[in-house]
Structures are given as C-alpha cells and as structure tokens.
C-alpha cells in the first residue's frame, strides 16, 4: 500500500511489467476497481498498455473506453476520479485488480456508488442500490 498513499508519483517508469500482461486480441485486459476502505467492488473496465502505463505514472485510474475507442481518465468529465493505491495481476496474467479511493464515493455513470447495482432476485435483475447523485452522469 506504500504507506496508504497513491502510487505512481515519481515512479521509475520501467515498462517491462507491461510485457508480462497477457493482452487479449484487442490489446486489452479487464480491470477490477475496488474501494480500498470498504472493499466494495466498484467497476469492471478495460486497459490497454498505454492506459496501464499512465495509471502507474499518474496514480489515478486510466482506462480504455471500448465504446469511444480512446483513453479515458476516469472522472475526467464527472470529477469521479479513482486514486490508485495498489495494482495487482492475477495468476494467468490476464486480469488486473486496483485498490482505489473513489472520489465523491460515486463510481457509476448512473450516480451510484458501484456499477454493480443490479441484483438477481427470483430470476430477474432488480436495482438494489440508491442513486446518490443523478446530476453528474458522465463517468
């Protein structure tokens, strides 16, 4: 946890760690963001090499937007920045887990804490979490 502070500031930018990641056919890897204080899983997003390099360099989550086909600094429009405390890779080298502090406590573009707000109940998906702030829509 590097003393609980964000990683990346002033980090020596070695890039060999990028070669260890098994990027998929589109050059992407799935990335889970987990709120470091509560353990709540907030988002599943995607990174390419540049996004992971920038995440380490800037100490904030930078993803690849598959819909917009460009780099996406989480919170660049909404202000809902994810400060990154830790980056982990799984045993197959094809999934990443971030420990983050979610600014404003809102990760989802719907204004909810987590994107995982639909719960399966009696064979149907139901909205299980409240909207905290519906005013800020872009993620």
């Amino acid at each position: 946890m590097n003393g609980g502070g964000p990683i990346g500031r002033g980090a020596d930018m070695k890039t060999t760690f990028l070669d260890a990641v098994k990027w998929n056919a589109d050059g992407l890897v799935p990335v889970i963001a987990q709120e470091v204080k509560t353990g709540r899983v907030l988002t599943l997003a995607w990174m390419n090499r540049e996004a992971l390099r920038l995440t380490l360099d800037e100490g904030r989550a930078v993803y690849w937007s598959r819909s917009r086909k460009k780099l996406w600094r989480k919170g660049e429009e909404s202000g809902h920045v994810q400060t990154v405390h830790e980056i982990r890779l799984d045993c197959d080298n094809d999934a990443i887990l971030l420990q983050v502090t979610q600014r404003d406590g809102i990760a989802c573009h719907t204004g909810r804490q987590s994107c995982f707000f639909q719960r399966l109940e009696d064979g149907a998906w139901v909205n299980a979490d409240p909207v905290i702030d519906a005013g800020k829509t872009p993620a």
Copy 2:
C-alpha cells in the same frame, strides 16, 4: 443475501434474465468472485449462458473454461467450491459480480487465497501472498 444462505436451490428457473446480459462475441461475460465474509476479490473468470444458468440453479460457481473450452464447476477437481450467495450485473450489463463463500479459503490453482497475488512494486510484479496449500493444484 437471502438470509446469508446460498441462492439457487429450488429457484424457479426463469431464463429471461439471461437475455439481459450482453454476451461478448464469444458468448461470454467476465465474472468477478468476491469472498462475502472478507470482501477479498478472489478470481476473474468467464461464463457463458449455460454457466450462469447452472450457477443459479446449483448455487455454486460454474464457469466457462476458455483454455479447455468446456463448462467448469469451480472446485470440481480441487474441492475448492465457491458457494454463491448473490449475483449482480453492472450498469452496462456486460460484467457480473458474485458474492461467494470460498471452500478451504483457497481460490487459486497455485494454492493461494486469491488469484490476484502479484503486486506491482517499483515497476515489477512480485508475489505478495503466501501459498496456503501447494498440494491441490487444479482449480
């Protein structure tokens, strides 16, 4: 949480919830498994329609093995079964989050608690977690 017990036993097997999921070009969706008691993220795996249906039906995590190209009842060889308490879908309908109880406390085929045991430190991935049981290798 359905009283804290596993879901699925005796569930009415409606299948319309399967149609709501945005399966990728391979008919798969990424699935995060989180230990319900500790909040630890254990695994990122994949499901197809049948795997999700069986997970709900059987109350244990059933994945699609992309390497073996077949259904994979987590723990079928190792005994490291994941009992499923809750199933959530994200805002884009293209990622799933399971709350599970991990039998034996070991999710990873390397004998570790979580598959996310490699931590990025000073630009390199280092093994950050101990092997609990190296004897049981298949996941």
